[in-house]
Amino acid sequence: MTQSRIDSRFASLRAQNRPAFVTFVMAGDPDEATADAILAGLPAAGADVIELGMPFSDPMADGVAIQQAGRRALAAGMTLEKTLAMVERFRRTDTETPMILMGYYNPIYIYGVDRFVADARSAGVDGMIVVDLPAEEDDELCLPAIAAGLSFIRLTTPTTDAARLARVLENTSGFVYYVSMTGITGAEIKNRDAVGDAVRAIKAHTDLPVAVGFGIKTPEDAALIGRDADGVVVGSALVAAVEASLSDGKATDATPGAVHSLAAKLSQGAKSARS
């Protein structure tokens, strides 16, 4: 297999000795056209890797900010098919930035697993994170995705002990996503030192890059976590910026810029992590 966009991106950042700045935004939030504009401007705002949320009615692992983002997107008519179309449009102008879909299994299951991996691949998706598919359910989507040449990025958490880690890493590709806490997206990181220890512990078991997410909200957070992690993921803060820019629930001219300027600041934090 040729080297994936994810692999090349992390390799080139490693050469620069800086962590990847990974941004999460919700597909179709607050509407498709605005979401297109947000997505298109993220690389210029410093995003090294993009996670695109697939909205779901029942996001069990998400805090209020991402719940609301999903609700806005669904209310505006977003579907999985339209999410894939967004990726395809993004790829017309950007062939370098890794694009990872993140969400829950049911919409994929209903779309059809085989059809989904084929369509995702041809749209220009590089990998996926599916929160409610643990290693025990690898037959469902993980193995078909890998067979189609897509990365399946797995979450590891503070509850994943050393014995379990091997199982979790077994079919993980692209990078490992370490969840900084036991909790939902957007919550507070209670113990930042423990995050660094955990990243080092995971790296002892794998050559894959380790990105850290959940609870990273400021450039200072990004700088601190980025010392040990190969990537820092920011999601809730960015979708909260979408929300704050709305007027009567609708996008304004300021919406894409609000997300991009916050992303640029956070990206500076990540870039300064090891300088």
Binding site: M60, Y105, V131, T157, T159, T160, T182
Partner: protein
């Protein structure tokens, strides 16, 4: 009790928590180690005579089991046809079958050293039962309940608060059981070290569907023993209502390998199956999907987004169903029938007036089908309905609907 046979329908789930296509462990990694640990603890408890002794003692002296099997003489005479019996789970302590499961799980939580209990509730029956066992064992308890349900089941909210539980109204979505379960899962993932999630129905990730069924199957086992003693034979048909389906699986399980016993589960058809998003019949009006840790029949749209559904009964107002029911439906062993709000209301009033028993609106869905079935059978036939709960919690909303408040 019958032996488990080869080709038995009573052998599920497999080691991966599957009942055929259904079930499984569709949860976030944070919860996965805990779920594996729960399974191990549950298996150990099952093999420990002390666990069973403690559970039996609580069933007898705290819950008041066995619950009576009651001949509904006036209703049988009025309907004409088979004789109708009620399995009186409404006489259980706390007023429903829910306590059976809570007793089992609270003992398990204690064995696992958990110090805090959370639960979701729809009608509030499971919330009350959970708050009750938490009071009994001195454990702090938080119950998540949809804001809509808090309003329509206020008596149960007050009971939970009196028992010392914190009731957290959930405003997301339609403010019903599905949203309460999402919020409970979010709390659990946040407090996974200390907290035991006491799921109230035979759904969720493995091992919950199996565990809840095992704690509820006492219902069917007692029906068998009581029927053999009273009539010297098994019933011809057994009927129970289905939300998640814990009373129904508990009622059916002992009879799955008895081909002579017809089994009927009733789903909430709300305003009618033909009304868009107007019912909660996930099997009659849904399709297989993945939610809340398991694959099962769900109410969902073409994009896999979960719909809210509707039922007059807060306990049945859930867009999914336990995975074992999904399996039993596909296998054809159990017949699932939709019952509308109006049919349930009619049955509610019939039971109240003819038998002097106010049933829960949930149980009235089962009764409505029993009332259809009984006249089609001969006088020698016997039908048993699981009267899963009492209706005190519903008198206000039913009274209002029937204009009795003036």
């Amino acid at each position: 009790m019958s032996q488990v046979k080869i080709n038995s329908l009573r052998q599920g789930p497999d080691e991966n928590g599957r009942f055929g296509l259904y079930g499984g462990r569709f949860v976030a990694e944070t919860l996965m180690p805990l779920i594996l640990d729960l399974e191990k603890s549950y298996n150990a408890a099952q093999d420990d005579p002390e666990f069973h002794a403690e559970m039996d003692d609580l069933r007898t002296h705290f819950a008041g089991r066995p619950s009576p099997l009651y001949f509904a003489e006036r209703m049988s005479a009025e309907l004409g046809g088979a004789r109708l019996f009620f399995k009186r789970e409404d006489l259980n302590h706390t007023g429903s079958h829910k306590l059976n499961n809570c007793i089992g799980q609270i003992l398990l939580a204690r064995r696992m050293g958990k110090t805090r209990i959370i639960a979701e509730t729809g009608a509030g029956q499971h919330g009350v039962a959970t708050a009750t066992v938490c009071a009994r064992f001195g454990l702090p308890c938080t119950v998540f309940m949809g804001a809509t349900d808090v309003e329509r089941q206020m008596p149960n909210v007050l009971r939970m608060r009196m028992l010392g539980a914190e009731v957290r109204p959930v405003t997301a979505g339609a403010g019903t059981l599905k949203d309460a379960m999402n919020e409970a899962l979010r709390d659990w993932v946040t407090n996974v070290d200390t907290t035991y999630y006491l799921i109230g129905t035979a759904a969720g990730p493995h091992p919950y569907p199996r565990m809840v069924r095992d704690f509820q199957k006492v219902i069917g086992e007692e029906i068998r023993a009581q029927m053999m003693e009273a009539e010297g034979r098994l019933p011809d048909a057994v009927v129970a209502c289905i939300g998640g389906g814990s009373n129904a699986i508990g009622t059916f399980h002992d009879f799955l390998d008895e081909p002579g016993v017809a089994l009927y589960g009733t789903e909430a058809a709300g305003y009618g199956l033909d009304v868009d998003n107007g019912h909660a019949a996930s099997m009659a009006g849904g399709s297989p999907g993945v939610l809340h840790g398991n694959r099962t029949y769900l109410l969902q749209d073409a994009d896999g987004q979960i719909r809210e559904g509707h039922s007059i009964s807060a306990g049945l107002d859930y867009p999914g169903v336990g995975p074992e029911h999904a399996f039993l439906r596909d296998s054809g062993r159990v017949t699932y029938v939709p019952i509308t709000d109006q049919q349930a209301l009619d049955a509610f009033m019939a039971c109240t007036r003819f038998e002097g028993i106010i049933p829960a609106l949930e149980s009235a869905h089962g009764l409505a089908y029993a009332m259809e079935l009984v006249p089609t059978l001969s006088p020698e036939a016997i039908v048993v309905l699981c009267l899963s709960g009492r209706g005190d919690k519903d008198v206000e909303s039913v009274g209002r609907r029937l204009g009795m408040g003036n």
